[in-house]
Symmetry: C2
DNA sequence: AGTGCTTGGTAACACGTGTAAACTGGGTTC
DNA sequence: GAACCCAGTTTACACGTGTTACCAAGCACT
């Protein structure tokens, strides 16, 4: 360590003060612009010049330590888990929350245990946590956050939870919409793709349940079909579908559905002639492939509304309820 | 504000100390486990019990303020900009860096100005910044980071930059590989899709340049084709391709290429009979669509190597050079 | 000449944490 | 019995910031 001169000296507001020939307090006043009237234009200019000269950037950690709250908004979500649909929405969310002065940050939760995950989030003392994927958010996890000072917790889910502002939306309705459509077309032997990718079962399980609910009402059979993300798996499943004599498949996702479609095509199975296929999330992919994919479309509240709710929750501790997420069929060629 | 009892009291290590009947220092010693031998097993147990009871979680900001360095690793990247390819890689990176004790965080840079963006990153005082997309990282931006104490900056790019550990990889080689393939197939009138989505031009421009380089050597013509992300735009471009008499298109991306392919198909243009199409990034999508899409594949160094380099850069200030990124053709049906 | 007001600025504390240095008994050594 | 040591704990400071008091000087008014 002889050559290392410590962890790289940071430029602090004290440096700026020294350079401008004023006290640190004055620097703080100028840079945060609160009681503007109390600082003469001349020193004000001198401070700004010094700060610019030295390339001063405030230390977010120290600032939020002093302030007692941070401007961090945490989105716990793996990047890959967000499909094209969500990722655009997340981008928009970042923009509108940024305009409100928050720093949005994504953090993939690597721990399957909700409490451990919550503990990791809590370390950052975020102003709000936006759990927009149906991650396993338990009451204990919420309490960990609360104990760390984060009371603004938003989550997407089918039912309310104490201490959580819920954006109501039931993934099982996706399966429901798809299944109702298939049943209406006379299909009775329905397969359901179940992705084996980690983190996706939280979406897949309720979607399957939705299909089963509808199937039970109409005397249709439901066969879950576990599937890794890949071409070979799809090919194997295509064979299986024919062997099982299925007449319809709900593909969890447009991606998975499209994979299966291509495989069915390769094996000479006609879509939708012999087997109807329905996807979900209405990705652009659904319009690219041939036959074009029937899908189930999300109707999400605009990012502006979410930002408004989060802001209100942080500052007032309460917020107006949001319109619930709902789902509708986007009928195309594959069914 | 009468009903609001301030910004939600946080549980601090002082609370734990009080509950366990010891000093705050003892709590810190127990929880960080450094001089383990110096604490009796009995008080040790009492402290751990109290911490657990109160649900204590350390305050990352305070900790890193005291320590002079944070365990944050910042990945400046918009979620949507990362395709399937990158997002899986980022996931892996999160995992391996997490195992090394770092907290990985994604932050979409909303500012087009590199210095402003760098200023935003610098506020978080990250231990390292991993700019894995060819974002406009200027020397001034690097200096802003350095002044804030972040000296470990990794970036992907074609050439070295002072103060930056470069993961060498030249996006223009992608265009080059694609163009060489097309030229070898006798194509001479090449169109290049140029996405208009924000943040993508940093990828698109060099890819175009690569195509132009090869075309110039072989007397082929290159026509840039600006294209929004969507079906109508693709349809319009399909018509244009025919009118211009193009015999090949490099599609920037598998997504964009697939969009165009579908549109060409709809307009009765045969692929690859009349027009060859080549994509890039080798997404699974390339294998889903028919005809299957010829693509250009990334060879990225494993996430483990990147993590190793970042770690070394943080602690030793230097790191072993990484193998450069290279690209190879994945030939399929569309060309 | 005292009193009060305004303008421009500073001293000093608190936020939650990690750790070097000091302290306290009780035992061991000359 | 004085000197020393050791295990177990605490006291005290520093990190970089925002903000509440407080202060100095200038000026006007009784």
């Amino acid at each position: 360590m002889a050559f290392s001169k410590g962890p790289a000296a940071q430029t602090t507001s004290a440096d700026v003060a020294r350079a401008a020939g004023v006290s640190r307090a004055t620097v703080s006043f100028v840079l945060n612009g609160k009681p503007t009237a109390r600082i003469s234009q001349e020193t004000r200019a001198r401070v700004l010049a010094a700060a610019d000269e030295l390339g001063y950037v405030p230390h977010a950690a120290a600032r939020s330590l002093r302030a007692g709250r941070s401007d961090l908004v945490l989105l716990p979500a793996a990047v890959s888990a967000a499909g094209r649909l969500f990722s655009d929405w997340v981008d928009e969310l970042e923009t509108v929350l940024g305009e409100r002065g928050y720093t949005v940050v994504l953090h993939g939760n690597r721990s399957p245990d909700p409490v451990t995950a919550a503990r990791a989030w809590a370390q950052l003392r975020p102003a709000a946590v936006l759990a927009m994927a149906p991650t396993g958010l338990t009451p204990e996890a919420v309490q960990v956050l609360a104990q760390a000072g984060t009371t603004a917790v938003l989550a997407m889910g089918p039912e309310p939870m104490p201490g959580v502002f819920t954006l109501f939306g039931d993934q099982s309705e996706i399966g429901q919409v798809a299944a109702e459509h298939l049943v209406a077309r006379g299909r009775r032997r329905i397969g359901v793709l179940m992705p084996t990718e980690r983190g996706l079962s939280a979406f897949a399980e309720p979607r399957l349940a939705g299909v089963q609910r509808v199937a039970a009402e109409h005397g249709a059979t439901v066969t879950p079909l576990p599937m890794p993300y890949g071409g070979e798996a799809a090919s194997a499943l295509a064979v299986l579908c024919r062997e099982l004599g299925l007449d319809a498949v709900f593909g969890y996702n447009d991606e998975y559905a499209a994979l299966l479609c291509a495989a069915l095509n390769d094996h000479g199975v006609e879509v939708p002639g012999q087997i109807s296929v329905v996807g979900a999330d209405d990705l652009l992919l659904a319009q690219i492939v041939r036959p074009q994919l029937t899908s189930v479309r999300y109707r999400l509240p605009g990012a502006g509304l979410i930002a408004e709710a989060a802001d209100s929750l942080i500052n007032k501790g309460t917020a107006q309820p949001l319109p619930r997420i709902w789902f509708e069929l986007a009928p195309r060629q594959s069914s």
